[in-house]
């Protein structure tokens, strides 16, 4: 790369401050020389105010028809400014195949930590300077890097869906069913590749060095203790799924915490690249399965942005907002209920909280056909109009029942002395750290940072509604709890306005809906304020009916970056409360 570097081009931005850093421009995207990237990154953070690293992801250009002459790997950064709001600054740093290395920016934006590890894991791009560069979603002995375009998964059938074997000669191979082993019966055969030197009998798992925040270690007074390591999880009721926290303890005080995830990993992104654009919608339901409507919304907005000229009917816009805000209430009810569960108030608050969820899910089911895996939105609108009487039911719920339920929950819990004792001052995250660790949603706003994508970069029709961005100054578990309670009230406010103003009319643009459509070449990053935080979809199209690259910026995955720093110094029982206050869903964390 350095040998082909052209002379410093002063027409490109930032070359006056960091000469030779920006080597090209592709639309709004800046292409940065990799050896100059940390220097430029520091400048962008300190002088230009790009303090929030929203998303880091990789792209493998191997089979992209229009990128034959560029280096094989690129790392894409989406930077935002919390102060200014507005759109992103997109940075691309490229690396050739024989030397896939990009300098780490963890020291500049600590929020890049897990994301760079994910890129190493799935693309095999190394990040020199990263303090703990090891696999994050897959196990240490895994062969290959699955998101590379030349990597094929087990039971690989074809590069792209739809598969040719299904029609018109789709004879299900029934004779295979008589075979004794499940693996042999699998109709796709298997192409599992093991490392060449892999010997299952002698294989030892690689040594894992856990990186603990030792600089945050607070000196304990008096008691002399031994340091012990406790594995919390993968099977633990507080982890809301299969998730492990490796905790180093001095007595009962946490001195280091390392989250281990990936138990639910299914390579959502690889599946997404095999799928057509339409097929991905039901798969997004399975990301954060509590909030499938929000995931649908984020994804279809991204596809619409790529398509360019999609006219979404007014009624569909309103229906989308109504569904998304109902989802927020569902999620926050769930989060609060299960936070209380984690604190030991076993299931009474949780059941009271999810009563309202039950009624909202009934509405989802009547509209979309499923309570949780809604698959309701389509590029261009929504799948079908709501049935008769649905809006009246929703109005009744929003005007009478939900405000009462939220007030009741507030009265029930917010001043409870036990809750206060367990949550106040626990898991403190300063506003600066919250931004640096790229946290989003209630975690960020619970630290007093008034940042909400609905206001900062309005999408859909959120600019028409009157609502406030909720913040709490505490930065602790209680503040995050309070943000959720108050955000539900704001959601009710939006819902009231949306249900008042929703017009009659179609819900899809005119014309027959196509089951497969081509998308013009390009790339987009679309983010929405999902209930758990900033949910982003990064799509690269090469003009075919299948996305070339599909990346999900999952809020519960990136919010976990701050888990370690939040827990250090508190008691081991508080780790459970802190994890509960981040509100993770493993379907999204592990993807």
């Amino acid at each position: 790369m350095s040998e082909t570097m052209p002379a410093v081009d002063s027409t490109l931005p930032y070359n006056d401050v960091v000469p030779g850093a920006v080597i090209g421009q592709d639309g709004e995207t800046l292409i940065v020389a990799r050896e100059k990237w940390p220097e430029l990154a520091r400048y962008l953070r300190d002088k230009e105010g790009y303090d929030y690293l929203s998303s880091v992801t990789g792209v493998d250009n191997l089979t992209h028809p229009k990128r034959k002459d560029v280096e094989r790997f690129e790392v894409v950064y989406h930077l935002y400014s919390i102060q200014r709001g507005g759109g992103p600054l997109v940075i691309k740093v490229r690396a050739p195949e024989e030397d896939p290395e990009v300098p780490s920016v963890v020291s500049i934006w600590p929020g890049a930590d897990f994301q760079e590890r994910e890129i190493w894991d799935l693309f095999g791009i190394r990040f020199p300077g990263h303090p703990n560069l090891r696999r994050i979603l897959l196990w240490e002995g895994f062969h290959g890097h699955p998101l590379r375009k030349d990597w094929k998964e087990a039971y690989y059938e074809e590069e792209k869906k739809p598969f040719g074997s299904r029609w018109p000669k789709g004879d299900y191979p029934r004779e295979k069913m008589r075979l004794p082993w499940q693996e042999e019966r699998a109709i796709w055969q298997d192409n599992v590749v093991y490392p060449t030197d892999f010997a299952p009998d002698t294989w030892q798992p690689p040594e894992i060095t856990y990186h603990f925040g030792l600089d945050l270690y607070r000196e304990l007074e008096g008691l002399k203790t031994d340091r012990i390591i406790v594995n919390m999880g993968p099977q633990h009721p507080s982890t809301h799924g299969v998730f492990r926290m490796v905790i180093a303890l001095e007595g009962e005080t946490i001195v280091g915490l390392e989250p281990e995830m990936g138990y639910l990993h299914r390579n959502h992104e690889k599946i997404g690249e095999r799928n057509t654009y339409l097929m991905n919608i039901p798969y997004t339901d399975r990301l954060d399965y509590i909030c499938s409507m929000s995931n649908n919304l984020g994804y279809v907005l991204a596809v619409e942005k790529l398509l360019g000229d999609v006219e979404v009917p007014e009624r569909a816009h309103y229906l989308r907002v109504i569904m998304a805000e109902f989802t927020r209430i569902v999620n926050h009810m769930w989060a609060i209920g299960f936070l209380l569960n984690d604190l030991g108030a076993f299931f009474t608050p949780a059941l009271y909280a999810i009563e309202e969820r039950e009624l909202i899910l009934d509405l989802f089911e009547a509209a979309s056909g499923a309570r949780m895996m809604c698959n309701y939105m389509r590029p261009g609108g929504v799948a079908r109009d709501v049935p008769e009487g649905w809006l009246d039911q929703a109005r009744k719920l929003v005007n009478e029942r939900l405000p009462r339920a939220i007030d009741e929950l507030d009265r029930y819990l917010s001043e409870n002395e036990i809750l206060l004792a367990r949550t106040k001052g626990v898991g403190y995250l300063s506003p600066e750290d919250a931004i640096a660790y790229s946290t989003s949603g209630p975690v960020l706003r619970g630290s007093g940072v008034p940042y909400d994508v609905r206001k900062a970069e309005p999408y859909s029709i959120y600019d028409r509604f009157d609502f406030d961005v909720v913040t709490e100054e505490g930065g602790d578990v209680y503040a995050r709890y309070m943000v959720r309670i108050r955000e539900m009230r704001e959601s009710v406010r939006i819902l009231k306005q949306a249900l008042r103003d929703i017009p009659e009319g179609p819900v899809m643009p005119p014309g027959k809906q196509k089951y497969s459509f081509r998308v013009p070449p390009g790339e987009v990053y679309q983010r929405i304020e999902a209930p758990k935080g900033e949910l982003g979809f990064y799509l690269v199209s090469d003009g075919s009916p299948n996305p070339y690259r599909y990346h999900v910026r999952a809020p519960s995955f990136i919010n976990l970056t701050a888990l370690g720093p939040m827990c250090v110094g508190y008691k081991v029982a508080d780790a459970v409360a802190v994890l509960g206050s981040i509100d993770i869903v493993l379907g999204e964390t592990d993807r």
Partner: protein, 222 residues
């Protein structure tokens, strides 16, 4: 006062208990008195929010979807499916296998010879029903499909998937009414078109005859 918050919270728990109790007393005879009852929870519901499945079941909305079913005509017994393959192409997990029927020369006949759905792969998204241009595949409401073996019990073939159109009409009354209306309109349009075509043909024939006659007359006069 320390403990005020706890007491207030306990008051709410007590109220919930009372509401559940009153709700239960209101349902006399007991809600469990009959074998099976369908429950629909109105928005005003207070008290208990659980359903005693399988003694009680929820009322399913019309749009409810579970796994696909294939529809055949009640009277003629013919499949609506023309094996066009759109469902197999749009299926996200690719769980539909269609074998198109062919005559002895290998020319395709628009009818499925076999139709398999591996419902252990099916994700219940409903795309097949949504995009089928012939209303031949719809989503079933029957969710009690547990079996002992994955193979071959969860691979449904055409016979196992087929249901009569009347079953579909009973599950989806609104959608059925709309479809019937549309089919009626299409039939009328087709008839009208046929009529118009016939009329046009007749007119053309008449004109032709007239012109021939005129030509003949011309010929005679010249």
């Amino acid at each position: 006062m320390f403990g005020k918050g706890i007491l207030r919270g306990l008051g709410i728990t007590a109220r919930h208990l009372l509401e559940t109790y009153i709700d239960d007393v209101k349902r006399i005879p007991s809600r469990y008195a009959y074998d099976r009852r369908l429950i629909k929870q109105p928005v005003e519901e207070r008290g208990i929010f659980t359903i005693q499945y399988p003694e009680e079941k929820r009322v399913l909305p019309e749009n409810f979807r579970y796994i696909p079913m294939l529809i055949f005509d009640d009277t003629t017994g013919e499949d609506r499916c023309t094996s066009c393959g759109i469902c197999a192409k749009v299926c996200p997990p690719q769980c539909i296998w269609i074998l198109r029927e062919e005559d002895e020369k290998g020319k395709p006949i628009p009818r499925p010879a076999e139709f398999y759905i591996d419902i252990s792969i099916c994700m219940g998204c409903g795309f097949c029903a949504e995009f089928c241009p012939f209303d031949a595949i719809k989503m079933n409401h029957d969710y009690e499909i547990a079996v002992y073996r994955r193979f071959p019990d969860l691979v449904l073939n055409k016979d196992e998937l087929s249901v009569p159109a009347s079953y579909y009409a009973q599950l989806y009354p609104t959608a059925w009414a709309e479809e019937e209306k549309r089919r009626e309109e299409e039939r009328k349009k087709k008839e009208a078109r046929a009529k118009a075509a016939a009329a046009r043909k007749a007119l053309a024939a008449k004109k032709k005859a007239a012109s021939q006659k005129a030509e003949a007359q011309d010929g005679e006069t010249s």
